[in-house]
C-alpha cells in the first residue's frame, strides 16, 4: 500500500503498530492455509481452523489478534537522526491506549508495570544506517511465549553442521507447545554471541516466500523444515503434521575458535509491519529482509 505524504512520522509508526497487531502478514496466512490443506490430524486441523478464524475476526474488528501484544521491536534503516527514537516512543505510548495494546513492560527486579509499554531501555530499537535516501521502519511484536524459548549455544567448531542442526531441532522440540506452534524458526549461525541472537530474531522479519540468496542456506532451511515437521509435535504441541511454517537462517562470519548458534522462535502470530518513507510517499508492507 502506498500513501502520499505529508503523513507525520509518528502517525506512520502508529499505523505500523496497528497493522502489525490486527492483520497477519499475507505470507504467514498462506502458509497456514497450505498447512490446513495437508494436515491429517483432526486435533491439529481444529487448532489451525481456530487460528485462521481468529485472524479473520481480528482484521474485521480491528482488534489485536493476540492478547500478548508483545514487546514491539523496531528496526530503523536508511537515513535518520536521533529524533526518530522519540517518535517511536510516543507512538508506542499512544497505541497502548488507542489500539489498545496490553501494557507489558515491567521493572525486571520489582516487577511493577510501567503501564505504557515504555520504561528503562524501551522502546527496543535497532539502527542500521545506510546511504539510502529513504527511511525504513520495521516493527515486530514479540510475545513472551515465543521469546522465552530463545536459545544460544556456543558450539565447538568440531561439532560442525550436524551439531548445529541437532541444536536447532532439539530447541524447537523442547519448546513444545509453549511458543504457539506452528510458527517460524529464526536461526543465527556465526557472528559473536550477541550478533548471533540478533540475527536469529532479524530472520523472522523476512517473508516466508522470500528465498535466501545463498543456496546452502536454502538447503539447510528446507532440511530443517522437513525434519521438524516430521517430528509430529504439531500445532500447540498437541500432535500433528504442522510444527513450523518456515525456517529462516542467517549467517555471519565468526571467530575461528567459535561456532555460535541461536534460535529465536516466532509464534504463528509473527506480527510484523514495515514502512519505507521517501520524500513523497510511504510504502507499507509486512515483511522485509534486513
Amino acid at each position: 500500500m502506498v500513501v502520499k505524504l505529508p503523513e507525520p512520522r509518528e502517525k506512520v509508526i502508529e499505523n505500523l503498530l496497528r497493522l502489525a497487531n490486527t492483520k497477519l502478514p499475507a505470507d504467514i496466512g498462506w502458509a497456514l492455509e497450505a498447512a490446513a490443506g495437508w494436515e491429517t490430524n483432526p486435533t491439529a486441523a481444529s487448532q489451525l481452523g481456530a487460528i485462521m478464524e481468529n485472524v479473520r475476526k481480528a482484521e474485521l474488528l480491528a482488534k489485536p489478534m493476540c492478547q500478548d501484544t508483545g514487546i514491539p521491536i523496531f528496526y530503523v534503516r536508511g537515513k535518520f537522526d536521533s529524533t526518530i527514537a522519540e517518535d517511536i516512543a510516543q507512538a508506542v505510548k499512544n497505541c497502548t491506549k488507542a489500539i489498545p495494546m496490553r501494557p507489558n513492560t515491567v521493572d525486571p527486579i520489582i516487577r511493577v508495570n510501567y503501564g505504557n509499554n515504555l520504561g528503562d531501555g524501551m522502546p527496543c530499537i535497532h539502527f542500521i544506517p545506510t546511504n539510502d535516501d529513504f527511511t525504513e521502519i520495521a516493527v515486530m511484536l514479540k510475545g513472551a511465549g515465543s521469546e522465552n524459548m530463545t536459545k544460544l549455544k556456543m558450539l565447538n567448531p568440531s561439532d560442525g553442521m550436524e551439531g548445529v542442526k541437532k541444536f536447532i531441532i532439539d530447541s524447537v522440540i523442547e519448546a513444545g507447545g509453549r511458543p504457539c506452534p506452528p510458527g517460524i524458526v529464526g536461526v543465527g549461525i556465526g557472528g559473536t554471541a550477541d550478533e548471533c541472537v540478533a540475527m536469529a530474531k532479524r530472520a523472522l522479519l523476512e517473508p516466508l516466500d522470500m528465498e535466501d540468496p545463498d543456496a546452502d542456506i536454502q538447503a539447510l532451511e528446507e532440511e530443517l523444515f522437513v525434519k521438524i515437521n516430521q517430528s509430529g509435535l504439531g500445532p500447540m504441541g498437541l500432535g500433528g503434521d504442522t510444527t513450523v511454517l518456515g525456517v529462516k537462517v542467517r549467517k555471519s562470519a565468526c571467530h575461528t575458535a567459535s561456532l555460535p548458534v541461536a534460535v529465536n522462535i516466532g509464534c504463528w502470530a509473527t506480527r510484523r509491519a514495515c514502512a519505507r518513507i521517501t520524500d513523497t510517499d510511504v510504502f507499507y508492507s509486512q515483511g522485509v529482509r534486513l
Binding site: N54, P100, P103, R178, L233, L238
Partner: protein, 165 residues
Amino acid sequence: MYTGRDEVHIRALEHLDEGKDVPDCLNGAALYHCGPIMKQDDDGKWSVVAAGPTTSARMNALEPRFIREFKIRAIIGKGGMSKEVAEAMKEVGCVYLAATGGVAVSYAEGLSKVTGCDWLDLGMPEALWHFQTSSLGPLVVAIDSEGNSLYETVRQKVAENLSKQ
C-alpha cells in the same frame, strides 16, 4: 472463570502463608491462565478486548500447591503442565483444557461478561479478572483428572519419529 498467572499464584500463596485474605472466588474455581487486554469506559466499566491463553508451564512450580489449597476444578491454558501438576490434578479432580494460543479475539467473545477484578495493582495482565463465560472454545482435554496427558503421548511419538531420522 477467573484469570490467574504468575503474580496471582505468588500472591495467593503468600497470603495463605501470612494468614491474609485471599479472594473467595478462587475456591473450586476454573482457572484461566490468561492475561487479557481490558478496556475501561468513561463510567469505569471494564470490557474484554482480547483474551487468549498464556504459557501454563511458567506456573509449574506453584500450581500443585495452588490446586490443592483452592481445589481448582479446571485449568485452561496452553502448552501443558508438569507431572507434578498432573498429580495434584488427579488428587483434587481437576482437568487441563488446552486453548489455542494466540486465538485472543475468539476467546474474548466467549467471555461474555466481566463480573469483577481483584489485585489490579499487579497490572492488567497479572490481575485476577472474573468472567462469566458462554461457548468458550475450542478447548481440548489435554490432561484429564486421572493424570493422562496428551502432551506425554505426543512427546513419546515425537521421540520415536526423531529417532528414525
